[in-house]
Amino acid sequence: MGLFEKFLHTLALPRWGVHPDDHKRPAADAPLRLLPLPARLYVPLQQHVGQPGRPIVLVGQKVLKGQLIAEPQGRISAPIHAPTSGIVAAIGEITAPHPSGLPFNAITIESDGDDRAIEARVPSDPFALSPEEITDLVAAAGVVGLGGATFPSSVKLALGKRTRITTLIVNGGECEPYLSCDDRVMRDFAAAVIDGVRIMMHAMGAIEALVGIEDNKPESIAAMRKAAVPFPEIKLRPVPSRYPMGSDRQLIQTLTGKEVPSDCRAADVGVIVNNVSTANAVHRAIRLGEPLIRRIVTINGGAVWQPGNILAPVGTLASDLLAFAGLKSEPARLLMGGPMMGIVLPHAQVPIVKGTAGILALAENEIVMPEASPCIRCGNCTRACPIGLLPLEMAANIRVDNLSGAAALGLSDCISCGCCAYICPSHIPLVQYFTHAKGELWSQERSKLRLDASKRLAADRAERLTRETKEKAAAGARRKAERAAQKAEAATAAAEADSSTETAT
């Protein structure tokens, strides 16, 4: 690139975000591999935003691949299916892929090695189906957003009924360094992705689809462009490589110029964003009748022998995947997801879930974490923030526990993308301040609700007690009156008797 072109390129970049080293190759270029079926799969009941699934199988029961093993509870939830055939070995707590190392519930399936699938019914022509029928099929297949948010896709598709959706944005940004699973999906399954996009457009009534792919993935752009040729309503839109381009609001703004109001969802401005892997999952659910039971996971990092992308069933332990890819050295840090927003795993004995894009085993030299030093107010964080927040001011407020002050500065708009902490020359753990404050505010909110509820209960009880005393008093009075009446009656009767005897005498 010439100096002038480089200059033009710099001018065209959005004025937010950061540009971390992407570390995507050679993992992205390695051909997709299939993981040999693990002996045991640990299928969590909570792999999506919303209510966890409710298990409908019993320990010892035989299940087939694709069989429903946990049904959704509540409006926002997703069903869970058996990733392979075998026997339900246990239903209980296992370590969650979560930095806290806390447990959550999962169904353990002991594979029988046959990988025998349940019979699937497949509609002959999805485009003859009504949007509701497609939404129901997608819901039944347990498809959730695979870009990381794991929001149930059917709920998103159904938004088309409530508000008019004009544009489906297909997110092929994959701006997180190290990860290349979406890249692989687009390279290997471009036709399937385009088909999934068309089905989703049909389901939500969108008239056009914009596929946004970061320009550091030329192979994907070429493959997708080729697959989209017969469908003029699907437009390929390469976008500059800039973290966090794969974030909903940033991609919408880059592709359509629309800004999603902070209290609204993308659907409110007529746009819905879906990940390319989600489109692929929708395609498989509708065309093959296959529920979401496996996904492509990037195994990468300096400690990995053969970095690359692996097709693995949901519920596979991270340790199985790492063993398959091989480890050069003991990883200094294990991550689920990318280095910018991914979470630390307490150990490798945790299962991958529907939303797991990658497992990173980082070597010692990749995680230099220098000590934090005082903020010098350089303002790099405010320039990097894709939302336009003032991270340094918010962190200063949170440090002295002024959570409401941080909230007034827009803490709720923070998407935890990590740009501020990445760029900070003082290495202040800004994201940790914000995650802590958000959690703390949420738990305060919850205890306030609880307080209100107990206040209501106490008032109800007080009211009941007074009512009961009143009723008791009333009953007492009534009994007294009755007794008095009886007495009076008896007295009159006696008097009458007396008088009668008197008269008799």
Partner: protein, 365 residues
């Protein structure tokens, strides 16, 4: 689940960091000051080198002593480069042949009272170097306004190493022999004597204003061009952004251009204003200090413009011939206010912080 696991905070995202650090920033700024400083050394010889060294050591000593008193680990913070930069900036703004105690008092004042009493790096309200310079100017007006004409170190008459030390210890020996005035000071004195600029600047006694920088003043003033070049390097390296320097230069240049056009006999021209005093040093190195300047782009524009305008006002109508230090300190005091009222727009919200109207956004195509 074990409790030890819960008690220890797990490492948070992001797990990657940009390869930047406070000390790297500070040392980059210092590095861009080096050419101007070396040129200054060449112009003013050994006394200037000695004063520079003394000032730097005093600043570092003040910082180390405070850190020690506060019970903090002195070494890492001492070597983050911030005290070095503060001392350096002060040194290049002092009269080059000032006695040693000017440098010592200034250096100590800068890091101890200008910075550490506020809580150290990042907590000071005012630019430490400028606090010290103003303290010196007010306390020792005579010593702080005795300037010498450039006398290159190679010149025969230039003081050698030994004479340089004597000057540092005892002050300038024969004051009237070498002393000179800065261009701004000269102009101001002559104007107050009723001699207009047309005549005073044309006189033989007028201090030189050679564009190459060989002009009477501090190291930073004499080497204005090299200072500006260093500032451009900082811009290019993205250590600073253009907002403050451009706004400050505009804040000086615009009123200067207008006033000079109206009455050239009374008001100095733009070039003189920009190359004299601490204008360049102020615009690129002093006003751009992260800690004491606003952290939004608009805020920085306001701040820079304020610095520039105040500098011009003080130079033209104030009692002192030079006003960069005062202007910067005044605007430093306003920085919290600017930061409070000028905030970036949050995505999805308007400038007042209310959410945008979804129907308007929907209509955009």
């Amino acid at each position: 689940m074990n409790n030890a696991l819960l008690a220890a905070a797990p490492p948070t995202a992001p797990h990657a960091l940009a390869s930047n650090s406070v000390s790297r920033i500070m040392l980059t700024v210092v590095a861009t000051l080096v050419p101007a400083t070396l040129y200054g050394f060449w112009l003013y010889g050994w006394p200037a080198i000695d004063l520079w060294l003394v000032t730097l050591l005093a600043a570092l000593f003040g910082e180390a002593a405070c850190l020690k008193l506060a019970g903090r680990q002195a070494l890492p913070e001492l070597f983050d480069g911030s005290a070095l930069l503060t001392g350096w900036l002060l040194a290049v703004s002092l009269p080059p042949w000032a006695p040693w105690w000017i440098g010592v008092m200034g250096g100590l004042f800068a890091t101890v009272l200008g910075k550490q009493v506020f809580g150290g790096l990042g907590f000071n309200l005012f630019n430490p170097a400028m606090v010290a310079r103003v303290f010196l100017l007010i306390s020792f007006p005579v010593h702080m306004t005795v300037w010498v004409a450039p006398l290159p170190i190679t010149a025969v008459t230039a003081p050698g190493f030994h004479d340089g030390l004597l000057i540092l210890l005892n002050g300038i020996p024969r004051l009237d022999a070498v002393s000179s005035a800065t261009l701004l000071g000269f102009a101001k004195t002559e104007l107050s004597r009723g001699i207009d600029l047309m005549h005073s600047l044309a006189a033989v006694t007028a201090p030189g204003s050679s564009l190459a920088g060989a002009r009477t003043g501090s190291l930073g003033e004499s080497a204005s061009f090299l200072i500006a070049a260093g500032g451009l390097v900082l811009l290019f390296l993205r250590v600073i952004t253009w907002h403050i320097p451009v706004a400050m230069v505009a804040g000086i240049a615009l009123p200067a251009a207008i006033a000079h056009a109206v009455d050239p006999a009374r008001y100095l021209d733009v070039t003189t204003h920009l190359l004299s005093g601490g204008a360049m040093l102020g615009a690129f190195f002093i006003a751009t200090d992260y800690v004491t300047s606003p952290n939004t782009k608009v805020g920085q524009l306001v701040f820079g413009t304020g610095c520039g305008l105040l500098t011009y006002v003080i130079r033209t109508w104030g009692g002192y011939p030079e006003g960069v230090a005062f202007a910067v300190l005044l605007m430093n005091a306003l920085t919290p206010v600017i930061d409070r009222y000028i905030r970036p727009r949050i995505l999805g919200r308007n400038w007042r912080g209310a959410p945008l109207d979804p129907d308007v956004e929907r209509a955009k195509s």
